[in-house]
Symmetry: C2
Subunit: 273 residues, 2 copies
């Protein structure tokens, strides 16, 4: 394998080697390490990447679901990306990550050929000062992957640090791009949708053991729209609807600076206590 | 097979016969027929049912994703429900529907053992007059499955009928229960989350060819909470965030009359023109 040192760290993390029909070998990278495993966003992006680079690929991503079934340890893993059904303009993928023979992550993706139609935005981007008028936030959690992002706080970008004081809402808004800057593609969008720390940290003003169980992202922009973003920041917004019996939901939006809704995402997150 | 005539039509539609390891035989029923195939909600409910009645089941549903890959014709189908990973308190399922050997539908589910924790509602139920003060709406679409529901209109419960007049929003709110009334369980919730007609019918005030591509539902209530609802209506709310290049998203909430958020759901829908 040739040196990957000239690659952007995100592209390095996405490197997959075909090893048989529908199978690709990858490995974890230190840049996207979370506390006890890889950042979920990088796992989602890498699973999507397997379908993106599959020789039978049709069209572009519309939907991606990733189920975090078990831990991924540092080192190699295998992704199986099976085109379970290909229609005239849509294609359905079944995705599985295995490590040492055990299933760690399952998922599915839908790809489609986009075409111009009547269109209408309904959701409205929250008002926010321009990204370049705000300083990047420093790291606030003992996780490596946060350094892979340039984040400019608008609201709720860091959780409070006084457990016992309940925050009135779970809303985070921040400007976001890769660090170093990188023009986004579908894999980047998949990763960005998981860049919001667990809403319960904000709501309860402190650390609570928590982890994403299942993550679904819908892609609303075509490849040209993403390419035209260049190294601009996008506005990320996240919030929960309910915390109950060990699980909460977390919805997210990714907006272009010009106000286009690029992606919407939803996850269900386990928490303890 | 014994007669199923005494069963509620929903329970009849959910009837699955084990036919081998992880495999169950089912069949479409006329009560839940859509225009050219079964109502997506009944397909989602039946796929969940396969995991619910699987002998290796652990806990209760937390998340369900269903990808509508191809049409299902009238008649028998087979569901494969494989427990792809079982942990101490969570279990991940891979779900596949096949008809005549072809994959029609794929999906996944996460089950977990719920336990009491700190909890917090964040979303707030919209105000609505009580269900019993509102008349049931008549059918408005040439689909059979609408008759399987008792729907009381609050807002946007029927699309307009004048194509070319764009509706200012895509919000529907209605009270909903099965018809005849039936105490909900997880399968009912899975079905209810798909009971909202495509948002584009409301936005564009008329019929547009459209179909759900992928549907994800998060379950926020435990089995006791569902059982205690009895035959009360629930409040269903749906709206889109963006319509672009042949696809729109649709988010939904299912509320108990007492204001508990029972489920949240998201889908991405194909549309033509």
């Amino acid at each position: 394998m040739s040196s990957t040192s000239d690659l952007h760290p995100f592209d390095e993390a996405l490197q997959l080697a075909p090893v048989g029909e529908h199978r690709f070998d990858g490995r974890t990278t230190p840049n996207y390490w979370n506390m006890i495993g890889p950042f979920g966003g990088i796992t989602a992006a890498t699973m999507l990447q397997a379908a993106l680079q599959h020789p039978e690929r049709l069209g572009d991503p519309i939907a991606l679901t990733v189920n975090f079934a078990g831990p991924i340890a540092e080192g190699p893993f295998e992704i199986e990306a099976v085109p379970s059904r290909t229609n005239r303009s849509t294609q359905h993928w079944t995705l599985t990550v295995r490590q040492n023979g055990a299933v760690t992550t399952t998922g599915s993706a839908v790809f489609a050929v986009r075409r111009d139609t009547w269109s209408s935005p309904e959701a409205v981007m929250p008002e926010a000062p321009p990204a370049d008028t705000l300083p990047p936030i420093g790291g606030f959690a003992p996780v490596k992957w946060l350094s892979a992002y340039d984040i400019r706080a608008v609201r709720g970008a860091k959780p409070g640090t006084t457990p016992g004081t309940e925050h009135p809402d779970s809303i985070t808004e921040f400007w976001l791009r890769d660090a170093p800057a990188r023009t986004p593609d579908y894999a980047a969008i998949a990763s960005w949708c998981d860049s919001f720390y667990p809403r319960i940290f904000l709501k309860r003003a402190g650390f609570v053991p928590a982890g994403t169980v299942s993550l679904t992202t819908y892609f609303h922009a075509d490849a040209d729209t993403l390419a035209a973003l260049g190294d601009q920041h996008v506005l990320g917004c996240a919030r929960a609807q309910v915390f109950r019996q060990g699980f909460f939901d977390q919805t997210a939006q990714i907006w272009s600076a010009a106000g286009e809704l690029l992606a919407t995402s939803h996850q269900i997150v386990y928490y303890k206590e």
